[in-house]
Symmetry: C2
Subunit: 593 residues, 2 copies
C-alpha cells in the first residue's frame, strides 16, 4: 500500500478519463441494484461513484460491503452517460468501473448518520456526538471546520513571519499567579510540596522576551483557565498571542487589521474594510451600553434633547431616550413589544406617512429638525424610519427592545462581520468589597493624559474614600479590545515599563511588596536592565473561527472539546488515579464533603 | 513612537546614505573620546555606530548614557572615511550622525557581559544565565538559536501544509494513562477527586483522527513527561507529531526525507543526501552494538573468520572481533589505549609498510585476502588502515576503543550530519521482573512475517517459560527510529488497526480487559466503525535543532528551559501555594518524609 499514485475521491476528473486509478476511502452509500452495484466512496475531499457491472458482480457481492467499510479500490474512470450525471457533486460527470476491491476494515452500524441530510433529520444529541467524536468528525461540515481552522492559523503564521515576528514557545509548566484561583495546578514530584501552574496566558514571558530584544514575538498559544465554565467556554483555549517593542497602540491596530484583511481574503474570499472603527470605551458604554457593541446593528441609544423637541405630557423628567432604526416596523411587532411589557412611544415614518403613539405628544416639524441635526451614516434616508422613545425608565430598556427585534429577525444585520476596536478602557475596576483591581491586568499602562490623576490619587491613598474610589475608576488605560459581531475576540494593551509605576500599581491593587516580589520580582528586576516600550494583544482563535464559520457552538471548531463540566466524553477525562500515584506526588485526596 | 519608518540597526546600508533615519535599540558600547562620542547601537539585527561630533557633544553628554540603555535615535547616515571602515560588521562602512537621542530606559550594570568575546572570557555559570534569562537572550548567539528554531518550524509547517497535512490541536488536559508513573497530573476542581493528565504524546488522539478520515494530520505538539531528569532532558518538549492513513512505512520515510532535505536546504543551506540509509534493528545491534549508531563514524565491529585468517596464538576461541579504520593511528595513541587498560592486537598499514602487534600472529597475505572480501565503502583504499583485534573479550570493548579515539579527536567524523533509519524494532521487551512490555508503545503493529509466531506464542501463553519469553523478544514490529549523529531524534510505527490484535497485545503486556477498556476503550471501540491502515512518527524538535546548531545543551535552543530538578530559575517555578487553594481542588499535601 502506498499513497504514491493514489487519487483522492473528490478529485476524480477528466484528467483520469479511461485511466486505471487507485482510490482509498469509506463507503458513504452502498446500493445493490440486483444486476449492478453502486458504491459512493468518500474521503476527506469528497465522494466518487464506483460501479460494478453485471459481469463482475458475483466477485464483489460476497465481500458483503456495507456503509462505512474502508476500501481500497482499483478501477477505470469512465464518463457517465449524459442522463446519469450527478450535478450535486464535483465528480458527478464520472464514475469508476471497479476492477479490484480490498476491504481494509469492516464497520458496524453508526450510532448516528453522517451525511448532511440524514443528520439534520435525526437531531443528534451533542453528548452522543462528543462520545463518538471519531464519527462526528467524519461529517463533511466538521471536517470543513478543522480544515478552515488549519488554513486560517497557517495564514496568520505566514503573515507574521513575513512581518519579522518570531514564534517562540513559552512553558506549559509555569509559575502559579497570585490571583491563583483560576490556575490549574500541577504537583511537582521531584520537588514535593511545590506546584507548577498551567499558563493562563504567556503574558510575563512575552514581556521578558521584549526585554531580551526579540522585538516582535508571537505564538499560537494554548492557555488554560480553571473557571466555572459558562456555556461555550473551554478550560483550554487557543490564542494568537503577540507582542512588539518600540510601538504605540496604533501600530498594533494597523498590524492586526492588515493581518485579518489578508488572512480572511485568502482563506474565505472575504473582503473586510480597514481600518476598523475605533471607539472609546466611554463612548461605547454611553451609546450602546456595552463595552463590546455589535455594530452590525449600528443603532445607538440617544438622549432626546427636550429643549429642542417638546413632549407634551406630564411627568416627563430630563431623561428621555430614543432609538431610531432606519426601517419601518409593522404594527404587529410593535404590539408584541407592548405585550412583552415594554413601555414606549413610537413613530413610524414612511415618506409623508407618519404613524404611532409619539404623534400625539410632539410637533412633527420640531422633531424633523431635531433628526436633521443627527449625523448618522445609517440614517441617510430620513424619510423611512421607526423611533422608539422611553422616559422615566433606565435606558437599558431601549437596548432590550433593540435586542428583541434582532432576536425576532425584524432588525437584520447591515453586514455579516463587523470588527471594532474599543480603546482607552478604565485602568481599574472597583470590586464589591471595595478593593481596587485591574480592569485588564496589572501590567497595563496608564493613559498619558490620566497619569497626573493617578499620581495625585496614589499620593493620597491613605485617605481613600468612595469619592476617591470613583475617581480611581475614571482613570483611563492604554488597553483595547477587538470586538467582532458584539463578541470580545481580542484584548491587549501598551505595558508599563517604568518599574516605579509598576510597583505603584501593584500597591494600589493590594499586592504587598513581598507578594509582588515573589511573583513578579523577575519582571520588575528585568526592567532595571534596559526595557523597550512595548505592547501587544491576544486574539481568541476558537471564538473568531466559530464566528466566521457561524457554528452553533465553539465546540464545533475544536477537534476534542470539553463539556461544561470539563469532561472529555470521548476519553472520559478527568478520571480517578491510584492512591500510590498521588503519594508519589506528595498529595492525598481530601474526603469529599 | 511608531515602527513605521524605523530602520533596523543591522540593516543600515547605502540605500539610506545621507538620509535622516530613526533607530531604536540598546547601547552595546559607549565611548566618550573627549571631543567625540561613539555609541554602538544594537537591536536583534545587529549593530550600527552612532557618532556625536564636537559641535553637538554638550547636548548629549548630560544624558549620561551607559551600556544597555534603550535609546530612540534620529540621525543622518554618513559614509565612514576609508580608514575608519569596520569590516567586522555588515554596517561597518557607515555611521549615523546623531541629531536627536531619547533615552527610553536606563540600565544597571549587567550581571554578565553579552558580547561574544567578553562572554567567552568570563565563563558565565549557567545558573546565572537562567536566572537572568532576559539578559542571556540578548546574546546574539542565543537570539540566532531562537530565530533558527522559528524558521525551521515555519518551514516544516509550510512543507506539510503543501503536502495536504492538517495541523490539528489536541488537548493539553488529557486522560491519565495506565502506565501513569510518567504523567503530570492536574487535579480537577469541578470534579473533585478526579485528575487530568498532561499529554505524554498525542498518540491516541491522532489515531482517532485517522479513524475520523482526516487522512494526514500533524501538530507541533508540546509533550510532557514526569521523568527523573537526566542531563539534557526537559520535562516538557516539542515534537513534530504526524500521522497518515493508507500508507506503509516507506511512505513515512520518503515524506520525512523530503521534508528534511527541503527544510535544511532553505534554513541553513545544508544539502543532505536522501534516501537515508535504512538499517534493521538487528543489524545495528550486531554491527554497532547500538540501536542508534552514529554513522558519521561508519566503522562496524566485525567478527574475524578464523578459518580464513589463522591467528597463531594459544587459547583463541571462536569469538575474535576486529575493527578496521581507514587511517593510520600514531603509536602514541595506541600506547595510550594500552595504558587505559584495553587489550588488543593491532596492525597499521601505510602502503607497503606494516606495523603492529598483530603481525606476529597472522600471515599478512591471508589477512590481505580476507580484507579484500570485505565490501565497505569506507574502506576503498585498502592500503591505508589500522586494525584492532580482540579475543576472549566482549566485543563492546572494541566499541569502547572506537569511542576513545572519537573523544580524543583521533577519529574524525566523515560528515557533519548523518541521518539513519533503524527499522523493524522488536515488538516487545522483557522487563527484569519477567513482564513483557511494549518496546515502543502498545499500538505498534507486528511485522507481517512475524505475525504467525505472535499467534503461536499467544495461544500458548499459559505455558510461558524463559524460552518462550526470548521468542517473544524476537518478534519484530513495524516500528522505526530516525537517528541523527547517534541520537534518536524520531520514533514511529505502523499502528495496529485490528481490534482483536490490539486486545491480544494489551493482554500480553499484562493489561486486564477492564484496564484496557477503561483507558483505551474508545480507541478499540472506534476500530469497529471502519478504521484505515495508518502510521506515523514523532520527531523531537528540541534535540534536532540542538544538534543542527551544535549547541552545548538542549537548553540553548529553548527560550525558557528548566533545570535538571525541573526548576525555572527565572520565575522560580515550581512554587508553594496556599492550603486554601489546595482545598478548593480537593487535595492536601502529605507531610514531607
Amino acid at each position: 500500500m502506498s499513497y504514491e499514485g493514489r487519487i483522492w475521491c473528490g478529485t476524480v476528473n477528466s484528467r483520469y478519463l479511461n485511466q486505471k486509478i487507485q482510490l482509498f476511502g469509506w463507503v458513504n452509500r452502498f446500493r445493490d441494484m440486483g444486476g449492478i452495484l453502486f458504491i459512493d466512496l468518500r474521503d476527506r475531499t469528497g465522494i466518487v461513484q464506483l460501479v460494478v457491472d453485471q459481469n463482475n458482480i458475483s466477485n464483489f457481492q460476497e465481500l458483503k460491503i456495507s456503509n462505512e467499510d474502508v476500501l481500497k479500490v482499483v478501477g477505470i474512470v469512465r464518463q457517465r452517460p449524459k442522463d446519469k450525471i450527478n450535478i450535486k457533486i464535483p465528480t458527478g460527470e464520472y464514475e469508476v468501473e471497479v476492477h479490484e476491491i480490498t476491504v481494509l476494515s469492516k464497520s458496524s452500524t453508526l450510532p448516528f448518520p453522517i451525511n448532511e441530510e440524514d443528520y439534520k433529520d435525526v437531531s443528534v444529541d451533542e453528548t452522543l456526538r462528543l462520545k463518538y467524536r471519531f464519527i462526528d468528525l467524519r461529517r463533511p461540515k466538521m471536517f470543513k471546520n478543522l480544515y478552515f481552522r488549519h488554513k486560517l492559523i497557517k495564514k496568520i503564521r505566514d503573515f507574521l513571519d513575513e512581518n519579522e515576528f518570531l514564534e517562540i514557545e513559552t512553558p506549559i509548566l509555569s509559575n502559579p499567579t497570585p490571583e491563583g484561583a483560576r490556575d490549574f495546578l500541577v504537583p511537582s514530584r521531584i520537588q514535593k510540596g511545590k506546584f507548577y501552574a498551567l499558563p493562563q496566558s504567556p503574558q510575563l514571558y512575552k514581556q521578558i522576551l521584549m526585554v531580551s530584544g526579540v522585538d516582535r514575538y508571537f505564538q499560537i498559544a494554548k492557555c488554560l483557565r480553571d473557571e466555572d465554565l459558562r456555556a461555550d467556554r473551554q478550560p483550554e483555549f487557543t490564542q494568537l498571542d503577540l507582542e512588539m517593542s518600540f510601538i504605540n497602540y496604533d501600530d498594533i491596530f494597523c498590524l492586526i487589521e492588515k493581518m485579518l484583511k489578508e488572512v480572511l481574503l485568502t482563506t474565505m474570499g472575504l473582503e473586510i474594510k480597514v481600518p476598523f472603527l475605533r471607539m472609546e470605551y466611554q463612548e461605547a458604554i454611553d451609546k450602546y451600553m456595552s463595552d463590546k457593541p455589535d455594530l452590525r446593528f449600528p443603532y445607538p441609544i440617544r438622549k432626546l434633547d427636550i429643549e429642542k423637541v417638546q413632549i407634551n405630557m406630564e411627568g416627563i423628567t430630563n431623561d428621555v431616550y430614543f432609538l431610531i432604526l432606519p426601517q419601518t416596523i409593522a404594527r404587529k411587532e410593535i404590539d408584541n413589544l407592548y405585550n412583552s411589557g415594554y413601555k414606549f412611544l413610537y413613530l413610524v415614518r414612511e415618506g409623508e406617512n407618519y404613524k404611532g403613539t409619539l404623534l400625539k405628544y410632539i410637533q412633527l416639524e420640531q422633531f424633523g429638525k431635531f433628526l436633521d441635526g443627527i449625523e448618522d451614516p445609517e440614517l441617510k434616508n430620513k424619510e423611512l424610519y421607526t423611533v422608539f422613545v422611553i422616559f422615566n425608565q433606565p435606558k437599558v430598556k431601549l437596548n432590550e427592545i433593540k435586542q428583541v427585534l434582532i432576536d425576532r429577525r425584524i432588525l437584520l444585520p447591515t453586514c455579516s462581520f463587523y470588527f471594532l476596536w474599543v480603546n482607552n478602557f478604565p485602568l481599574f475596576k472597583l470590586e464589591e468589597d471595595g478593593r481596587i483591581s485591574p480592569e485588564h491586568h496589572p501590567f497595563t499602562n496608564v493613559h498619558p493624559e490620566d497619569k497626573d490623576l493617578l499620581m495625585e490619587l496614589y499620593n493620597n491613598i491613605d485617605k481613600l474614600d468612595s469619592g476617591m474610589r470613583s475617581r480611581f475608576a475614571s482613570i483611563r488605560s492604554l488597553a483595547y479590545d477587538l470586538v467582532l459581531n458584539g463578541v470580545e475576540v481580542g484584548s491587549g494593551s501598551i505595558r508599563i515599563t517604568d518599574p516605579e509605576l509598576q510597583k505603584m500599581i501593584f500597591s494600589i491593587i493590594g499586592l504587598t511588596e513581598e507578594e509582588a516580589n515573589s511573583r513578579f520580582g523577575f519582571l520588575l528586576n528585568s526592567f532595571k536592565y534596559g526595557v523597550p516600550p512595548h505592547g501587544g494583544i491576544a486574539l481568541g482563535l476558537d471564538r473568531i473561527i466559530s464566528i466566521l464559520l457561524m457554528t452553533n457552538s465553539i465546540r464545533d471548531v475544536i477537534a476534542f472539546p470539553k463539556t461544561q463540566s470539563g469532561s472529555c466524553l470521548l476519553t472520559n477525562s478527568p478520571s480517578e488515579v491510584g492512591e500510590e500515584q498521588l503519594k508519589e506526588l506528595g498529595i492525598k485526596l481530601l474526603p469529599l464533603a
